[in-house]
């Protein structure tokens, strides 16, 4: 279980996270919804160790993750599919996957995992020698997910996987999210697409202006209200 407690992160004097606490239960899909600028990406980058939080703790099981380098955090079993995918554009699809397995030494197992990724994402097999920068947005998203899975994470973090993708591709991505979860991966997902996210999530949080403002299961709040708050913020939704 991934547990975030009272996390504070800031850029200069501006606090982006003002004491965030939440948890992602093992074996489940947890989803974080909120408008632009709520601090969702800051939270993801803090968990991955790219940003250093001011205060608070991030624990995976019994291990404290704050203060560890990004590489050590990957070693602990966390993999982030970043916002905007960030594939390695000048490297082939295959090389991107191998980079995802950078910390692993088991060559045969890595090769088998590459095959598994190709089975799960057949488009990647077709394009394995192609440079990642030349793939379509949807294909790059598949590659980013596959690359993250290559490290065999205990928890998969996904930051806005639907961003900028066509509706059909978004549906495909969420189908894969459910599938991965059914196969046993714990998933913590940040989204703006509340409709899709609520269909797959077991539990969800709402975040506004650096604070968690709601926690519950998808049935607990009418979807309209969730969408209003996720896009527009609570005040206007309430008023």
């Amino acid at each position: 279980m991934l547990v975030v407690s009272d996390l504070v992160a800031a850029y200069g004097k501006i606090e982006a996270l003002k004491g965030v606490s939440l948890r992602a239960e093992t074996g489940r899909i947890t989803c974080l919804l909120g408008p632009n600028g709520a601090g969702k990406t800051t939270l993801m980058m803090s968990i991955a160790g790219i940003l250093k939080p001011r205060r608070g703790s991030i624990r995976l099981g019994d291990t404290e993750l704050t203060g560890l380098s990004p590489a050590r955090i990957v070693g602990q079993g966390i993999a982030l599919v970043p916002e905007n995918r960030l594939v390695f554009p000048q490297m082939s699809v295959l090389e991107n996957l191998l980079a995802g397995a950078y910390q692993r030494g088991d060559k045969a197992e890595i090769a088998a995992d590459v095959e598994r990724m190709y089975d799960r994402f057949p488009r990647l097999r077709e394009r394995r020698e192609q440079l990642a920068g030349t793939l379509s947005g949807g294909e790059q998203q598949m590659l980013a997910v596959a690359r993250a899975l290559m490290s065999r994470p205990r928890v998969l973090l996904m930051d806005e996987p639907s961003l900028g993708l066509a509706p059909l591709v978004v549906a495909e991505i969420f189908r894969i999210v459910s599938e991965l979860n059914r196969d046993g991966t714990t998933i913590f997902l940040v989204e703006q697409n509340a409709h899709m996210a609520l269909q797959v999530a077991h539990h969800f949080y709402l975040m506004e202006q650096g604070r968690v403002t709601f926690s519950g299961s998808p049935g607990q709040l009418a979807e309209d209200e969730v969408i209003q708050r996720a896009y527009l913020g609570a005040r206007r939704a309430g008023g």
Binding site: P82, L86, F88, P89, Q90, M91, E95, A99, Y102
Partner: protein, 299 residues
């Protein structure tokens, strides 16, 4: 005609040393996307330490090579820690100016180690030159050419076939994503810097062993020749570095023969200037990348 061919041969041989210098240079640029002006002076520190043990303790050639490479690597790491690691990647100019500041430090440090203007450097091979019909081929020149080709092939292999090379290319492609897949970016960058300095150290050793002497001008000379060859060949390209070096060497050899040393240097800079204005990406470089700016409050 005979002169023309002999000049071209000599140019290729000298060009091999320029190519080797450019190889380390371009490697640092490729990974950092920033220019390290201290590259030559770092090599000079290695060369001076090598000379020191040769002059003081009459060390053998192997010890001199090891000392030269080791010194260059240590000086290179010093530069990386001081001028590159503490600054944001966007602060390319701050790093470049800072590396120049360290250039002055290293040069003065070298002069403090060995204050005379000229010191002897142990030769590489003293045998008579090979005769090929009317043409002469110096053995040490051939060794340098072989080293240039072997080392560039080796570097190419490491970058495109090894796990370390995969990490470096990932860092070049997207540093944040490199962190996210678990690459230790800081250490990898430092190792790349050290490796590039080692290549520079080997280049420096070969050049000095052929000249058989070392002077305080060597640092600037190495930076300048490496820079010109690298830019002509295409910034960040490994085969481009060697090719750029060979082109520079051949052009220099012919202009030296016809017009003397001052015009030779003039032609070298003219070549660089024309290349930048007409084709900034060089012979083999990729599209002009590396937009650099002054480090705007990005400490």
């Amino acid at each position: 005609m005979i002169d023309f061919v002999q000049n071209t041969i000599d140019g290729v041989m000298i060009g091999a040393s320029y190519g080797l210098l450019a190889l380390g240079f371009t490697l640092i640029f490729g990974v950092m996307r920033r220019l390290n002006l201290s590259y030559g002076p770092s090599i000079m520190i290695g060369a001076y330490l090598g000379t020191l043990i040769y002059v003081q303790f009459s060390a053998g050639p192997v010890a001199v090579v090891v000392m030269t490479v080791l010194g260059a690597v240590l000086a290179g790491i010093y530069v990386e820690r001081l001028c590159f690691a503490p600054m944001a990647a966007s602060a390319g100019i701050a790093s470049m100016v800072s590396s120049f500041a360290i250039w002055m430090q290293l040069e003065q440090a070298a002069i403090l180690i060995l204050p005379r203007h000229t010191y002897p450097f142990p030769p590489l091979a003293t045998g008579a030159p090979l005769e090929l019909g009317p043409f002469l081929l110096r053995i040490d020149h051939l060794m340098m050419l072989a080293c240039a080709l072997l080392l560039s092939a080796g570097v190419q292999y490491v970058i495109y076939r090894s796990r370390f090379g995969l990490a470096l290319r990932a860092i070049i492609g997207n540093p944040v994503a490199a962190h996210l897949v678990g690459i230790d970016v800081k250490t990898s960058v430092m190792l790349a810097f050290a490796g590039a300095s080692a290549v520079g150290g080997i280049a420096g050793y070969l050049v000095l062993a052929i000249d058989q002497q070392v002077t305080p001008m060597f640092g600037m000379w190495a930076t300048m020749k490496g820079l010109i060859a690298m830019m002509i060949g295409g910034l960040g390209s490994i085969p481009g570095a060697i090719l750029g070096g060979l082109v520079l060497g051949v052009v220099e050899a012919h202009s030296l023969w016809h017009f003397g040393p001052q015009v030779r240097d003039l032609v070298a800079y003219l070549l660089l200037f024309a290349c930048l204005v007409l084709r900034p990406s060089g012979i083999l470089g990729d599209a002009p990348a590396a937009e650099t700016s002054i480090g705007r409050r990005s400490a």
